[in-house]
């Protein structure tokens, strides 16, 4: 029984979406790194300048952005290990999907306690 063509847009599966997520998180971390190195360089200007700029980050909005940043970094790190295993481990390509669920599982295991710890620091006194 012939089926109607499903269209030309590739909707991929886990492999494609993890690739997209790896790119998006990588770009996000790259732009953060640029800002992070430049603001840290302010320690060379004076302790007051550095402390003043860092103090503007110590609010709930930036605190939530920091959780997002760490979430991106941790996903990129764990999925990067998965990419290395796919490339160098003989069984890697066959278990790439299971490894993605391991990445997601480990990401949750790390992010839940981190989020609790960081937000207590951000919202507490």
């Amino acid at each position: 029984m012939p089926q109607a063509p499903a269209g030309t847009l590739s909707r991929g599966r886990e492999g494609m979406w993890s690739w997209v997520a790896h790119r998006v998180t990588g770009v996000l971390v790259f732009f953060f790194l640029f800002a992070h190195v430049l603001d840290t360089a302010l320690v060379r200007v004076s302790p007051e300048t550095y402390n003043t700029v860092i103090a503007t980050y110590k609010n709930p909005i930036v605190g939530l952005m920091e959780v997002g940043l760490v979430a991106a970094v941790v996903f990129h790190a764990f999925n990067g290990i998965r990419v290395v295993l796919i490339d160098f481990w003989a069984r890697g390509p066959r278990v790439q999907r299971q490894m993605l669920w391991a990445v997601v599982g480990l990401w949750v295991v790390v992010m839940v306690p981190f989020t609790v710890r960081h937000l207590i620091s951000v919202f507490g006194e």
Binding site: G26, V43, E66, G80
Partner: protein, 144 residues
């Protein structure tokens, strides 16, 4: 036009296929990536999780870390590997999505310029840092 598709199995024309640069770039991403997992997660653990967390980050905190060669080397490796890893990642993305030769060229020039600035500024910051410019410092090396 860049969109011309060569006949199957025809010889690849000209540049970029004669060297192993892309192979080394591919390998560098894997090797630096594995090192960065340790360097970045260690950085986040020490700066955001242990001690006072984000609340504790200020000049005195940075001075405390960078008065130790261990953290200077850690942060130097982190800076160089992360910036080079990120630069190569963005280079790949520019090559994938910027279709016009001119656009691709200038985006990559902008990328390389930004990367050199970050690596130079970051390296100088780590090595010319003086923890004792803070008169209120209580670090042993500043109070003797």
């Amino acid at each position: 036009m860049a969109s011309t598709i060569a006949a199957p199995r025809s010889r690849r024309s000209g540049r970029s296929s004669r060297t192993n640069v892309e192979l080394y770039a591919w390998l560098f991403m894997r090797v630096s990536g594995l090192l960065l997992v340790v360097l970045v997660l260690g950085h986040l653990l020490v700066n955001l999780v242990l001690g006072e967390g984000i609340k504790g980050v200020d000049f005195a905190f940075v001075a405390g870390k960078w008065s130790s060669p261990f953290w200077q080397v850690w942060d130097l490796l982190l800076l160089w590997l992360a910036q080079l890893h990120g630069t190569n990642g963005l280079r790949t993305i520019i090559n994938d999505y910027a279709e016009h030769d001119q656009t691709r060229f200038w985006l990559k020039m902008l990328l390389y310029t930004a990367s050199v600035v970050v690596i130079v500024v970051g390296t100088l910051t780590i090595f010319t840092f003086d923890p004792c410019i803070d008169p209120a410092s209580t670090l042993p090396i500043c109070t003797k």
